[in-house]
């Protein structure tokens, strides 16, 4: 018997060696689940047993990982996840997601997931630039025009844009601002009805979300009028 006295629940060091023996030997049967669960539950609240149990099997220390991982603000995390998922779904629906996004395999085939949520913001920026009507592949902005002007929506479109896509002064957004705001799109943007079966494979579709109104832009360079 160990020098450690039995605790008030009756566990002693020898008990823990016996209880933990199955963890050290693949041939040993696990103890009855209920007995082991009760012992573990007791272990978490009894310092004397914790020392005895760790002496029997130090890997029991990793049970401490069960305590909650610190999360700054659960509601903010949930809102951020909801927004990001809405963005991913929108990007996939608009066909601007990377190859493989719609595949049904659980294993990703399009690279590390860390790069994936950023595709949505990148797609938004690209489509917004095309929506300006003055920039894009094969149609460069006039040399005299500054970058911010080249990316700015035309005045009539700016007038109907919700505040989400305008600065406080109502002026055009710089690219960095547009990316940031795109990442903060309201959640209900993805809850709106979307265009289905758009038979224009070369077109790019973008939805700008307002309070009760959404503007869906279909940008098709093939329709050069």
């Amino acid at each position: 018997m160990s020098a450690i006295a039995a605790c008030s629940a009756g566990y002693a060091a020898a008990d823990w060696r016996s209880l933990a023996a199955h963890r050290l030997d693949p041939q040993r049967e696990e103890p009855e689940a209920a007995a082991w669960a009760a012992a573990l539950a007791h272990l978490d609240g009894c310092p004397a047993c914790r020392r005895a149990a760790l002496a029997a099997d130090p890997t029991l220390v990793f049970r401490r990982l069960q305590s909650a991982v610190p999360i700054a603000s659960e509601s903010e995390e949930i809102a951020a996840v909801q927004q990001a998922v809405a963005g991913l779904r929108s990007a996939a629906r608009f066909g601007s997601s990377p190859a493989g996004a719609g595949r049904s395999s659980f294993n990703l085939s399009f690279g590390p997931p860390s790069a994936w949520p950023r595709w949505a913001a990148a797609a938004v920026l690209a489509v917004a630039a095309l929506a300006a009507g003055s920039a894009g592949p094969g149609r460069p902005a006039p040399a005299a025009a500054p970058l911010t002007a080249a990316l700015a929506p035309p005045a009539p479109l700016l007038a109907v844009m919700p505040a989400t896509f305008r600065t406080v002064a109502g002026g055009p957004l710089r690219p960095a601002q547009m990316t940031l705001r795109a990442a903060q799109m309201p959640l209900h943007a993805a809850q709106m009805p979307m265009l289905e079966e758009l038979d224009r494979p070369d077109a790019r579709v973008y939805q700008i979300d307002g309070g009760n109104l959404s503007v869906v832009m279909i940008v098709d360079e093939g329709l050069d009028v």
Binding site: L54, V61, Q82, P112, Q191
Partner: protein, 216 residues
């Protein structure tokens, strides 16, 4: 071409009363509010699982986001015979393993981090395992788990930390229960050995008996 779409759809308060399975049925039928309710319920446990597997909050966030996106994309494939938790955990676990594999090469060059942890451990020489703080245990696990295979790490966390049964772990990992037990045993053995080698100030307190049980 310009089209306008008007919508006044609002989330129904009834979603909160549905079970996880009922919610997944709604999601399977294309309900976006049901997906948002599911996100509200599962974000925290999934974030914690992903963070334990990956040891990185930012990567864990990415995994959780893509998990729910995959839930939506694969909603038609949800089978009623599966537990909703098992299905969602399986998606998240696979994504987290993909992450681990992607950064495996980076971890191989983590010697400076190990040196730092060892240095920190020197300062704790007078303490023992039973008194470590959560953050310290997490840091030790992050370091030692680099020696485990992705499967071993996942099985160990699901079984030992999440407290799932072998049957549930087998369903999530996609293998037999006997394979789960093997992964678990090998993970424990590896972790014990690494604890002795890298944190002798703790292991010494357990005496020769412990060292004798851990083959070199």
């Amino acid at each position: 071409m310009l089209e306008l779409v008007v919508s006044n759809r609002a989330p129904s308060p009834l979603w909160q009363e549905l079970s996880d399975r009922e919610l997944l049925h709604e999601v399977r039928d294309g309900s976006e509010p049901a997906l948002n309710e599911l996100i509200g319920r599962k974000t925290r446990p999934l974030l914690q699982l992903a963070q334990r597997i990956l040891g990185d909050a930012e990567e864990a966030r990415d995994v959780v986001q893509v998990t729910f996106f995959k839930v939506w994309e694969n909603r038609a494939r949800f089978d009623d015979r599966w537990s909703p938790n098992t299905w969602i955990y399986r998606i998240a676990s696979n994504l987290a393993i993909d992450h681990l594999r992607a950064r495996r090469s980076r971890e191989k060059s983590s010697e400076p981090v190990r040196q730092h942890l060892r240095h920190v451990a020197d300062g704790r020489a007078q303490r023992d395992l039973s008194r470590l703080e959560h953050g310290e245990v997490a840091a030790i696990f992050r370091e030692l788990a680099t020696g485990l295979s992705e499967r071993q790490r996942l099985v160990f966390l699901l079984r030992e930390v999440e407290g799932l049964s072998s049957q549930e772990v087998a369903a999530i990992v996609g293998c037999r229960e006997s394979t789960v037990r093997n992964h678990l045993f090998n993970a424990r053995k590896q972790l014990r050995r690494e604890l002795v080698e890298r944190y002798p100030e703790y292991a010494a307190r357990f005496g020769a008996r412990f060292e004798a049980e851990v083959p070199a």
